[in-house]
Amino acid sequence: MLTPGERERYDRQMMIREIGQEGQERLKRSRVAIAGAGGLGSPIAIYLTAAGIGMIRLIDHDQVALSNLNRQILHWEEDVGRKKVESARTKLRNLNSEVKIEAIDEMITEGNVSQLVDGCDVIVDAMDNLPTRYVLNRCAIEKKMPFFHGAVTGFEGRVMTVIPGETACLRCMYRGPVPQEKFPVIGVAPAVIGMIQATEVIKYLGGIGKLLTNRLLIYDGLRITFSEFTVTKNPNCDHCGPSIIPSLSPSGKRER
């Protein structure tokens, strides 16, 4: 049931045939975990909050730094030094007080990931490194939670949606560890990628549209081109292959 305030707030999107009242109520019942409150997490959290997701759980261990402000638009100059999840919660609550915001100040590891996303319907990848992405991917597969992958560098980005048990996952094309580096990026890139991820989340929760499943979408901002590539579920994938028994590394360290 929507309150009169909600009917007014979401009036324009409820006018969309694919959403309507039923779709809006579905969004209101949904619980979304966003792993990361940075370049990707900021636009994703803002637009999912604006759209009326029932509960958003933001997970990030970092503090706001000046060098974040070229792209992490949830955070402002006055927030430098503040915990990102707290800075985020303030803005998101001011945007839409109807949405429950859980601000989780934790670093995601193999040891705690399952508990961190417990109770949510989906996981959004807003990370800044591959090892933690794989931790999230494996957890999503084990818990059968749809996983919305996104990544950026420079003016470029990529997006793919993972439905555990049905589609290719992030690990299906794994070949080995890659060196971790500080990456170059300008705000407009995670903005575009984050928007596609948020669109996918809304579509999934609303049961509408065609998802980016088994489809890797690559965006080149220098030319404004989108290229789409078909990927397939790998039967030998060490995350989603049928013969794999899931296990956590005993040390709880980040997966290599």
């Binding site: 299906c172 070949r175 990456f183 789409e228 590539f229 078909t230 790998n234």
Partner: protein, 90 residues
């Protein structure tokens, strides 16, 4: 076989800015060797060592993933190879 290779944006510095390079080869591996003969800078961009692609490099044939064993995958006349670099930022 006359194949086109699409070079990733960050590698075009090694191909004189060319995005699409016409290539000859019957497999992806042959095509990449042909590419490297023309543009030697591409070797370090794509390979960790002989016959082993860097872990960040992805190969697509006609917009479909060529994983696994990318280098052994056959290609025919008119095929298009895309060389893509995996991104990790956010």
């Amino acid at each position: 076989m006359a194949v086109k290779v699409n070079v990733h944006a960050t590698h075009r510095q090694f191909t004189n800015g060319l995005e699409v390079v016409p290539i000859e080869g019957k497999t992806v591996g042959e095509c990449l060797n042909y590419l490297i003969k023309q543009f030697p800078g591409m070797e370090k961009a794509l390979f960790a060592k002989k016959d082993k692609l860097l872990n960040v490099v992805e190969v697509y044939i006609n917009h479909t993933s060529a994983y696994p064993d990318e280098l052994a995958k056959p290609v025919k006349d008119g095929d298009e190879i895309h060389l893509v670099v995996m991104l990790a930022g956010g």
